[in-house]
């Protein structure tokens, strides 16, 4: 008996905190942590809407579950590649601070 809005507010807040983390932490792993939090907020959102949708429709719905599963997969893929990149960059540049990785700077 929880209002849908509570979940949405929670998800928005978690997203905002994650965004803040991703924007401000200097360490590249910190950025990745922020992104993970944002993805988690998205999952909460998707499943809250899934619940709402099942309730409205009265029959089981699968789209929301599928979307949530895809987000999980993408999050896992993103973390593994991201961390591997950070470790590889750390090995070459001896830093995990994102601002020092500016090889692409023109």
């Amino acid at each position: 008996m929880i209002p849908l809005g509570w979940y949405l507010i929670f998800a928005a807040a978690l997203f905002a905190v994650g965004l803040f983390t991703a924007l401000t932490r200097k360490n590249a792993i910190g950025i990745l942590i922020g992104v993970e939090m944002m993805l988690n907020a998205v999952i909460v959102n998707l499943l809250a809407f899934w619940h709402y949708w099942v309730q409205q429709a009265g029959v089981p719905q699968l789209d929301g579950l599928t979307f949530a599963a895809i987000v999980f997969v993408v999050a896992a893929a993103e973390t593994s590649v991201g961390l591997a990149l950070i470790i590889s960059a750390y090995r070459r540049l001896h830093t995990a601070v994102a601002n020092d990785m500016d090889l692409l700077k023109g």
Partner: protein, 726 residues
Amino acid sequence: MMSEWVVPVLWLLPLPPLLAFGAIVLFANRSNRLSHSLAIGAAGLSWLGSMLVFWRAVTTEHLAEHPFGGWVLWLPTGETWLTVGVQMDALGAVTLFFVAWTVLMIFIYSVGYHNFGAKRGVDDRAGLPPHGALVKGVDGHKHHVPSLEPMYARFFALISLFAFAMYLLVVSDNLLTLFVGWEVMGLCSYLLIGFWYGKPSARAAAVKAFLTTRVGDMFLLLGMAILYSLTGTLRFADILGNASVLAALAGQVSPVLGLSWAGLIGLLLFLGVVGKSAQFPLHVWLPDAMEGPTPVSAMIHAATMVSAGVYLAARFFPLLSAGWQPGMALTPTMMVMAVIGAGTALFAATIALAQDDIKRVLAYSTISQLGYMIAALGIGAYAAAVFHLVTHAFFKALLFLGSGSVIHGMEHGALHTGEHEDVQNMHKMGGLRKKMPVTFVTFLLGGLSLAGAPLLTAGFWSKDEILSGALNGGFVVVFVVLALAALLTAFYTARQITLTFLGTPRSKAAEHAHESRWEMTLPLGVLAVFAVSAGWAGIPETFPGLGGLIPNWFGEFVGGHALEHEVSHSPVPLLTSLLVSLGGLLLGWLVYRRQVAGAADPLAKTLGPVYSLLKNKYYIDEFYAWLLIRPARWLSETLVADWMDRRVLDGILHGLGRFGIWLGEVLRRWFDLPVVNGAGDGVGRGARWLGMVLSPLQNGHEQTYMLTAVIGVVTAGVAFILLVVF
């Protein structure tokens, strides 16, 4: 259904080249032989599948009502689904036919063009065309011969990917996967035009092609989005095969310019076609794209990419012409197509008159011929446009490959004599008919077909059909413009053939040119057969004398479901096409047959200033440079880099006094007109402010970019709330 077995074949058609691409990139790139075997093998498989599908399509009754194919769901988007599917109908089948043939031929040709088996040159570097290698001949003399392309495997990987994209585009049953193929081709053309990335001109041409086509693609994407939001589907069968959807789209008025929704979507899709098929005003990338290797030119400019644009326009012809019946006034969208198509046909043909580079003539000729097809679609002559698409693909691929063979032969001569001539300049050629007989005969056939030499060649039949479509539909202006363009086409074709092959050699390189290897001449021969015979499939039944001898298979097969105005074959367009093609050919030959080495182009004398206007392509490149590129450069280099970073920031450091002097100098130099002087102050201050605000943004730190993006999103959100919610 009787076509069960063919549907899996259809699904798998694009796959072999993609697998070949992956295999070459990942595993085979060290072995040139393995690379090209994989690529050609894959192209051969796809070719075989295409022939099966084509055969199935032509033997299927009522193909127009029941195209075969299949589809699966891909992505749920709320209430509707995006789908993936394949479909084959008459338009698809004929397109598939010429794509399969030309692609296979171009692959085989590439082996010879890139000198497979030749020695690697000492000075050759990846990213530059091979310079030639020194070998010791049987007589003990050392001489230069063409050397192996340093990035041989890479080339085959890229053209395989390109072939995959084209197959994908042709078999798609919906706009989304078509768009995927479309964009992958855009990427490949970028990579292939810039194949010799060591040359600055090739790099520039690649960027130009990519950015110019991107302009069109943006509109295509917009049209796609509107179509999807209105109909909830992107499948051709659900949109184009559904009269009620078409009627609904044609009946409602969109908020833009009073066009109907069908008209608006059609216009947006057509703008995508303009970019891809290099129509005015987005034609500028195509001539520059000649920087790529010649097989690439053939691939991009004849067989696949530019054809894809016309294919899309033909595919969406029911939408483009929604609400129009033969005999009625054209819809605004069709009017735009007819005007741009006919205009481009004439405009590009005039430019082709004054070009000296053998490939550039062909490039402009391609633009002109594509204009023909677009104009034909614009006036509702659907079957004629598709017919010309097919015949043009064959003869233009032949011409491009032939010109590549000529260039190759000239290169051989230039290396042999050590003469550093421009091997693509037609004024340096001449007399090549004796040195390169196979190339000459095939090129001649292709050229005659392009010029529309009567009765024999494919180009005659398809062009004649467009012209008669224009006249019978009552579009006299279009008819006259296209007839004029046909005259010019015949003229520049005669000029090209005369300058290249006839007469006597006008340079040492031309004297020592010799015939290309069989890998190159074999595709020429095969394509020449099609360049001549493809036209016989579509001889109108009402044609005097010949009509009815061979049934007009093409018109029936393709035109079956389209709005075709079948009227009696009036003698006017026939006489016109005879006159312009023979007249143009004869005139071109007469003017150029006595051309001697070092002499100016006879046209230059006759036409005077007009000639230099044509030679410089109406200065459109310069105009675009002035309109778009210079301001963008100025913004980035002068305003941001120079003013903001260097001058503004340093200026602050060095004190305001210096800044004042600098400002005075800049103002004197840049704004010396008294009128601008007053505004200059404001501009300077604005630039300084902008510089201070913006310069920290370009620091290479992704978090800053991210923050900027988020701030943009928040601003947009706030604006949305303020404007919409309250």
